[in-house]
């Protein structure tokens, strides 16, 4: 029930650093953790919690037509337990499904609510408002595909006679003497997989390009990763995207395991690039 946080706006003046439970008796130094920036006309569900142990209550700080989701954070406790990471992303993703939000990178902490209102929202208001307007009705989806190792290695062996020969040479040889050969074989495999990655990325692009506004290819985080791409999607096209990805996954069969994640906040489309310039 929304009987909540907006009232805090005025009473917080100058107290953010001191707020906190006296009964803990620790005198823990507190500051303000910032999750993301939204249009000012949002409200927060009561009892929404964020980072910290125990999870801190999330509040809204407003300035002009903008709002920031924040919570108090103890400076003497390190941040970044998996619970903290999940809390940060879940809050922003749940928000992004309904309203545009500019997500901050994990770990953004400032001294006080005033700093959030004045230095962050106040000082960059026009820029944020413009970005939020562009994000209206959009969210990010991420497609992540992983090669099924056995399948893709068999493909490589089928396509590269040289790899098969190297493998045969290695089969009965003493491991210590074959580092060179193993490196050669590994390099062939690695190059072949790189080439496949390019093709498969193209296939993904072809499959979804009608349903997305913009895309960012994420760099592979491990050597069996096939595709990893973030898409900015008009929420009205989300179903079509999902269907297209499903079809592609069927085409790829047992070569690539595909996952579609979203809707999420537009992490990949804020910051250095302006989101969806072509809308």
């Amino acid at each position: 029930m929304p009987a909540q946080t907006r009232a805090k706006k005025n009473q917080d003046k100058g107290t953010a650093q001191k707020r906190g439970k006296e009964d803990q008796g620790k005198g823990a130094q507190q500051a303000v953790y910032v999750y993301g920036i939204l249009p000012g006309d949002i409200e927060l569900e009561d009892g929404t919690t964020g980072v910290g142990d125990p999870p801190a209550e999330v509040r809204v700080v407003r300035s002009g037509d903008l709002a920031a989701l924040v919570s108090d954070v103890d400076l003497d406790k390190p941040l970044g337990r998996p619970e903290d990471l999940y809390a940060h992303e879940e809050l922003l993703d749940a928000t992004a499904a309904g309203v545009p939000v500019l997500p901050l990178r994990f770990g953004a902490v400032v001294a006080s609510d005033e700093a959030v209102a004045e230095e962050l929202l106040g000082a960059h208001g026009d820029e944020f408002a413009a970005a939020l307007e562009q994000l209206e009705g959009h969210a990010e989806y991420v497609v992540k595909g992983r090669y099924v190792e056995d399948t893709v290695l068999r493909e490589v062996l089928d396509e590269n006679p040289e790899a098969g020969e190297l493998r045969d040479q290695l089969k009965d040889a003493d491991e210590d003497a074959t580092r060179e050969l193993r490196m050669q074989l590994g390099e062939i495999v690695s190059n072949s997989i790189d080439a496949k990655r390019e093709q498969d990325l193209q296939a993904l692009d072809d499959a979804v390009s009608d349903h997305v506004e913009a895309s960012v290819v994420r760099s592979p985080t491990d050597d069996m990763e096939a595709v990893h791409v973030a898409f900015l999607v008009d929420l009205d096209s989300a179903d079509a995207l999902e269907q297209a990805v499903d079809e592609l996954a069927r085409d790829w069969g047992d070569r690539i395991e595909v996952r579609l994640m979203g809707p999420m906040a537009a992490y990949d489309f804020v910051g250095t690039t302006t989101p969806a310039q072509d809308i």
Binding site: P78, L85, A94, T95, K171, L185, S190
Partner: protein, 125 residues
């Protein structure tokens, strides 16, 4: 939450997303920025290409003898590979394990955690 969409993200996905992406506060706030110790940044280790090559070669060999898979436990295989080149990978796995340990039990809480709603929005247009 919003419509129980596709698949939920795992920890690795979350790390890829929120440690790497998103607005960087430093670009907007300087004066009152506060440093806080972050635990997870080190968990991301880039695997060197030498490691990758040797791992691929190993995988191809394993493929070849896949009908008697259980020749040696993985640990022994690793030792035979020998030496410092596997350190990175070890560290990476260790970090992953640690994170997973921490993660234990969070799943249960997740349902209670529903995020920010936005009821009042959507009024104007």
């Amino acid at each position: 939450m919003s419509g129980g969409r596709p698949q939920p993200s795992g920890l690795a996905d979350v790390i890829d997303t929120i440690l790497d992406k998103g607005l960087v506060l430093d670009a907007y706030v300087r004066v009152s920025l506060v440093g806080i110790e972050l635990l997870t940044i080190d968990a991301r280790v880039v695997v060197a290409s030498v490691d990758t090559y040797l791992r691929f070669a190993e995988a191809v060999n394993r493929l070849d003898i896949s009908h008697d898979k259980e020749t040696l436990p993985d640990l022994v295989g690793d030792l035979e590979e020998g030496g410092a080149k596997h350190k990175t990978k070890g560290a990476l796995e260790a970090a992953g394990d640690k994170l997973r340990e921490f993660a234990g039990g969070t799943e249960d809480d997740e349902e209670q955690r529903s995020g920010a709603g936005s009821r009042s929005r959507r009024g104007g247009d």
